[in-house]
């Protein structure tokens, strides 16, 4: 067995809403091994998004520890976390979250700007990845000039810009029709199989989740059921 690339150890997240404390996560334990394809499922309000924000170093736990490649990141500064996000994690969102004023090429190149990659290198890499996701002829289009499926493929290309170990997809097919959604999922499956990327997929759709090696069911901020589909990696 390979080492856990990400490990959540008794993670709690408490929000304050006025005088009421809301526990979004209650002692979540989760370990994801390198090269795994894990789906996280659960009803709305189960803490899926909070969990994925923790895994993606976007948010800090109120209590508990998060390990990324055996390094505790739960106490790091925002700038250090930003560096980790930029280098090791690629995000794919339900709303695509592209920057509308920038072209497809510029969107894909943007994560490399923050890592100090030279301009030539950025353009070369961004072009390559966009060709890989089948958008080689759309590199100068703005997001608003692209279809939903194309926008999500730009977002996938952006997630891969800095060649991260982990790709985090939060409801990536939520805004797409089922056929386009299938294409996006097949991209993720390929990334897992061919490029050995660790994929973490948040969804409420069993048809999507079944592509994973393992499904974790989340309810009330903790894992209630774990289901192995195939051996990953």
């Amino acid at each position: 067995m390979k080492n856990a690339i990400i490990k959540l150890d008794d993670v709690w997240k408490t929000y304050r809403m006025g005088n009421v404390k809301v526990n979004a996560l209650r002692g979540l334990d989760l370990a994801i091994k390198e090269g795994e394809f894990v789906a996280i499922m659960g009803p709305s309000g189960s803490g899926k998004s909070t969990a994925v924000n923790m895994v993606g170093a976007l948010d800090m736990p109120t209590k508990g520890k998060i390990y990324l490649e055996n390094r505790d990141i739960s106490k790091l500064s925002e700038s250090d976390l930003a560096q980790i996000r930029g280098k090791k994690i690629g995000f794919i969102f339900q709303q695509f979250n592209l920057i509308n004023t920038l072209s497809a090429l510029e969107n894909v190149a943007l994560p490399m700007v923050f890592q100090g990659v030279s301009k030539e290198e950025r353009i070369k890499r961004a072009k390559n990845i966009l060709e890989m996701v089948g958008l080689g002829d759309r590199i100068n289009h703005k997001p608003t000039e692209l279809s939903g499926g194309q926008q999500q493929r730009v977002a996938i290309a952006r997630a891969l810009a800095n060649n991260p170990e982990v790709v985090l997809a939060d409801e990536p097919t939520g805004n797409l029709d089922s056929k386009t959604g299938e294409t996006v999922i097949s991209f993720l499956t390929n990334l897992n199989k061919k490029d050995k990327k660790t994929i973490i997929l948040v969804t409420h759709d069993m048809n999507i989740a079944k592509h994973a090696n393992r499904i974790e069911f989340l309810k009330d901020g903790t894992i209630v059921k774990s289901k192995k589909l195939r051996i990953g990696g």
């Binding site: 993606g56 700038s79 280098k87 979250n97 920057i99 700007v113 923050f114």
Partner: protein, 406 residues
């Protein structure tokens, strides 16, 4: 790296073209005002100091009090007399003293009558030479007046250059002053001072006769002897006149001025005027700066989600700060550049209006590199400071909240 941020910031401004322009208006009005007014003030100062420098610093002028800002003789007050001139001449350190009259009178040429200033010319040759030298008067056509030239005049350059009368006045023309016939024997060289350039110079005795002036002078011009300190001589002179008139110090009804003092007084006045102008411009820049702050806050709010996206793909707080800080800096800087160009144009416009309409070359703007550089630097600083708080706010946004923002 920084270039990427500049391009990104520039791109952001381009997306909000109208708002960016409106924001910059606040800055460039202020900068244009500063650049045009300061450059004109500097030009004015240089021109006037230049004129006094050509007069020479050993000159001392005695005038009646309170006539400093108008042509002498235009107020009905106690005049200087031959007796005063004698006191000046007797004062220790004075080499020569000349009494002068400057009055307006009706001057008729080719059946057109207008009021012009008449300036008296001394009857003694050495006194005439002294005036010629003191005011750096020259003759561009014909000759200057000389003793015995009763009923002859010399006219200022503007009367010869422009058609103030139906025709330009040239040497040999005939004029009527208060009904008396005069012959023009010369035209003075251009001095740049419209008062001098439109004067009609006439022998002192003729002027007294034509205008019925008794024993009085409008000003007494004197020269300190070689090796004397003009300021000390001027003090001594003032003391003598006080003594003669039985006045105490501080009660003077006359003024003794040296070019040095005039330049200094003028410098103080000009400085005060410029300080007021700069103060007003500073208020406009402050308002412009607040405009930038407002625009940047709106921009941060609008792009909250964008900030969240950038943070999720690896932007550090400092990266976000730089993006917004540079954006507001560009607003200030571009506003400044436009302001400098506008200010330059405005200064040149005033110069042209001054030359063509007012006929003066005193309004010639001087654009020193220091003025331009400080205007640009200042506008960039205003822009940056104005963007400081919004940029800080943007950089501190929590990525999760920012991503959720709709």
């Amino acid at each position: 790296m920084l270039l990427d941020y500049f391009l990104y910031a520039f791109n952001g401004l381009k997306q909000r073209k109208l708002r960016s322009w409106l924001t910059m208006v606040g800055i460039f009005i202020g900068i244009a005002a500063v650049v045009s007014l300061i450059s004109l003030g500097e030009g004015l100062e240089q021109a006037i100091i230049g004129q006094f420098a050509s007069v020479g610093i050993d000159r001392i002028i005695v005038q009646n009090a309170n006539t400093g800002f108008g042509p002498p003789g235009s107020f009905d007050i106690k005049s200087l007399t031959e007796h005063d001139k004698e006191i000046v001449e007797k004062t220790k350190g004075i080499e020569i003293a000349v009494g002068r009259l400057i009055r307006s009178a009706q001057v008729e040429f080719k059946d057109e009558a207008q009021f012009q200033f008449l300036g008296s010319w001394p009857e003694k040759k050495e006194e005439g030479d002294f005036i010629l030298e003191s005011f750096s008067f020259s003759v561009s056509e014909g000759r200057m007046l000389k003793p015995g030239d009763q009923f002859r005049v010399v006219v200022g350059n503007m009367l010869n250059e422009k058609e103030i009368y139906p025709k330009k006045i040239i040497a040999g023309d005939k004029l009527k002053i208060n009904g008396f016939d005069f012959e023009v024997v010369g035209v003075m060289g251009k001095t740049g001072n419209p008062q001098f350039d439109s004067i009609v110079i006439i022998m002192e005795d003729a002027m007294r006769e034509v205008l019925d002036i008794g024993d009085e002078f409008d000003l007494i011009a004197a020269k300190a002897g070689k090796g004397e300190d003009p300021s000390k001589v001027a003090e001594e002179l003032a003391k003598n006149i006080r003594k003669d008139r039985g006045l105490k110090k501080g009660q003077e009804d006359f003024e003794v001025q040296t070019p040095q003092q005039i330049v200094e007084t003028f410098g103080i006045v000009l400085f005060a005027v410029q300080a007021v102008i700069v103060g007003i411009a500073a208020i406009s820049l402050l308002v412009g700066g607040i405009g930038i702050t407002n625009t940047m806050y709106t921009s941060v709010l609008e792009r909250t989600r964008e900030i969240g996206i950038m943070k999720s793909i690896g932007a550090r707080n400092s990266d976000i700060f730089k993006l917004f800080f540079i954006e507001s800096g560009i607003l200030g800087m571009v506003g400044g550049i436009i302001g400098v160009i506008l200010g330059f144009g405005l200064g040149k416009l005033v110069e042209n209006v001054g030359k063509t309409v007012l006929g003066t070359e005193l309004l010639t703007p001087v654009f020193s590199p220091l003025l331009i550089i400080s205007a640009l630097l200042f506008s960039f600083i205003v822009g940056s400071i104005s963007g400081l708080m919004p940029a800080l706010q943007a950089s501190k946004l929590n990525p999760v909240d920012a991503l959720r923002y709709k």
